[in-house]
């Protein structure tokens, strides 16, 4: 007897991506993480409402300024931490739990599984970033309303226009976080301990921030992802300053290419011993 060779189904890749996303969402820890990410703009809204002051970027705020500030705050630590956790789960977590070997003998080709994991991290980065933006926007409109705002250059912009700029900021930051996640994905192919991946990824992020504060290492700064995180503020200038944001995205693309290729090289040749 011989089993008939079954054809590969259309959309099989996207079915597994869907499975990956629902797996990520099913984890209690990730749910908690999303709540924390969303809580930051709400807490900021309450703090601004009760204390009166602001520390806002601009003197005239509408509802979009709060999510912008929340994104700025969370880009330093919370968002990279969220990406580090997801990256830890991606390969190392599956290896640690033994589920990796079952995926691979199913079979999911190794390159395909890595692509699925990357897609999952991409979705995670966008979901986390836009969650902050949307929750922040709702809280912001409640505190500041939906009137006009102003740019860093001191010019007025309408609510609709500032919504567009908020979306651009979130998009930029989501791509930056995808680069952090890709770096974490590489670490995830190196070890079988998800916690080690998370720690390793955060060590890279924190060392990058320290480098940012060390003038002797100024030559190194343009190569680091963190150097470009806050560059999204450039879209709040009038006219928006694209050159640095584009450079930042270029650096993020380079990080994704290098660490993604390293992850591929490592994962496709690795012995799955757990």
């Amino acid at each position: 007897m011989s089993v008939e060779a079954r054809p590969v189904r259309p959309f099989a890749f996207w079915r597994l991506v869907g499975s990956e996303i629902s797996l990520m969402l099913s984890r209690r820890r990730n749910q908690l993480g999303l709540v924390i990410l969303a809580a930051v703009p709400v807490v900021m809204a309450v703090a601004i409402k009760t204390s009166g002051d602001t520390g806002l970027m601009v003197s005239v705020a509408n509802g979009t300024v709060l999510p912008m500030l929340a994104l700025m705050m969370e880009s330093a630590f919370f968002l990279p931490l969220a990406m580090s956790l997801l990256a830890g789960d991606a390969i190392a977590g599956e290896a640690h739990g033994g589920t990796l070997r079952y995926l691979l003998v199913t079979p999911v080709g190794r390159a395909r599984l890595l692509a699925v994991k990357f897609a999952g991290l991409l979705v995670g980065a966008f979901f986390g970033t836009f969650l902050i933006a949307v929750v922040g926007l709702v809280a912001g409109v409640m505190v500041f309303g939906s009137g006009a705002s102003m740019t860093l250059s001191g010019t007025a912009i309408t609510f609709t226009e500032s919504l567009g700029r908020l979306a651009l900021m979130a998009l930029f930051l989501a791509l930056m976080m995808t680069a952090v996640g890709t770096m974490g994905l590489f670490l995830s192919t190196l070890v079988d301990q998800p916690l080690a991946v998370t720690v390793g990824c955060m060590v890279v992020v924190i060392l990058s921030w320290l480098t940012e504060a060390t003038s002797q290492l100024a030559w190194l700064q343009p190569y680091l992802l963190t150097h470009w995180f806050l560059q999204f503020a450039d879209v709040l200038r009038d006219p928006p300053l694209w050159s640095r944001a584009v450079k930042g995205l270029g650096v993020a693309a380079a990080w994704m290419a290098v660490t993604g290729a390293a992850a591929w090289a490592r994962f496709t040749s690795k012995d799955i011993g757990s």
Partner: protein, 316 residues
């Protein structure tokens, strides 16, 4: 795949981790349609071999052919025809049994999404987990996890099933069920490779046996063939172990082995083969061996394996 060919063939298969050789020059041959018992004590290299068969671990040297295709080069073509349970079941503990199977079904690019639920339901039914399908795997007993692992291997029809220690953690009832399952699958034409450290289990389930010891395949034959090949073994009790060993070797007996016993004397055993049993004692005496005891009997499979592997087996 030709009937009567081999579902699994390895040649010179070797895996070293650093200085340690886990699998050494393995020439495995699992005939198509057989239930092959891959027997060996824990740590003898069975699991590493199975990982190499499935492309999880890259061999240091040697080749693997699975269902007439080279591995791991054609993994994407071969593995859809292979079901596997590797080194114990592993699942996402926070998901229930059904969701875990759904995840593995989604991972199979050849599986149709539309019929997923039916497949999963049938597989759960087959291993008797329908009632527990909505329970988190965290709350499963080891036996239930084992059955869920087998269910995962049964999601799709397969030409070859690789089951690594499938009865681990199962109660006698569960073990019996697995045995029936394997028998049923074999009857339907599926080749089954079952690894085990339990001789009794292999004797009850398998048509063929390969014995692993310290990374090497020390015997491989059909169960009947192995039994036949035992023949008669002679056993000499003597204090002169070295002289007895020499004398039996000079006489032309095979598989001469000596073991020190309690006190001054020990035992020397050998396969009698075609030799006349009455010639043995005179030969020993003329060689100056003090024969304290002599017997000639058919050894059990178990004794045979103890000799081959130098280790005992757990016997139920």
């Amino acid at each position: 795949m030709s009937e009567g060919g081999a579902a699994v063939v390895t040649s010179g298969l070797t895996k070293t981790f650093g200085h340690q050789t886990a699998v050494d020059d393995l020439a495995l041959e699992v005939p198509t349609g057989s239930v092959y018992g891959f027997l060996g004590p824990n740590g003898s290299g069975k699991t590493t071999t199975i990982r190499m068969l499935l492309g999880l671990v890259h061999p240091t040297a040697g080749h693997v052919r699975l269902l007439d295709e080279p591995m791991p080069a054609h993994a994407n073509r071969v593995l859809p025809r292979v079901g596997a349970l590797v080194e114990g079941p592993a699942f996402h503990l926070h998901l229930n049994g059904r969701d875990n199977l759904r995840r593995l079904d989604a991972a199979d690019a050849t599986a149709e999404a539309r019929t997923s639920s039916a497949r999963i339901g049938a597989a759960l039914e087959r291993v008797g987990l329908t009632a527990a399908a909505r329970k988190r795997v965290k709350n499963y007993s080891l036996g239930m996890k084992q059955r869920l692992g087998i269910a995962a291997a049964l999601l799709q029809p397969h030409d070859l099933l690789v089951l690594d220690e499938p009865t681990n953690g199962l109660d006698p009832q569960g073990t019996r069920e697995v045995r029936h399952l394997v028998a049923g699958l074999a009857h339907d034409g599926t080749t089954v490779l079952v690894s085990s450290h339990l001789l009794a289990e292999v004797e009850q389930m398998c048509s063929h046996v390969g014995v692993m010891s310290r990374g090497r395949l020390v015997a491989q034959d059909s169960l009947a063939g192995l039994r036949r090949a035992h023949g008669v073994r002679v056993r000499v009790t003597t204090p002169d172990l070295a002289q007895a060993t020499d004398a039996l070797t000079v006489l032309g007996l095979d598989e001469v082995a000596s073991s020190a016993g309690e006190g001054a004397s020990g035992q020397v055993t050998a396969a009698l083969g075609d030799h006349a049993v009455e010639a043995v004692v005179p030969a020993l005496v003329s060689a100056g061996v003090r024969v304290l005891g002599f017997s000639a009997d058919s050894a059990s499979l178990e004794e045979r394996f103890v000799e081959l592997t130098g280790e005992g087996f757990d016997v139920r």
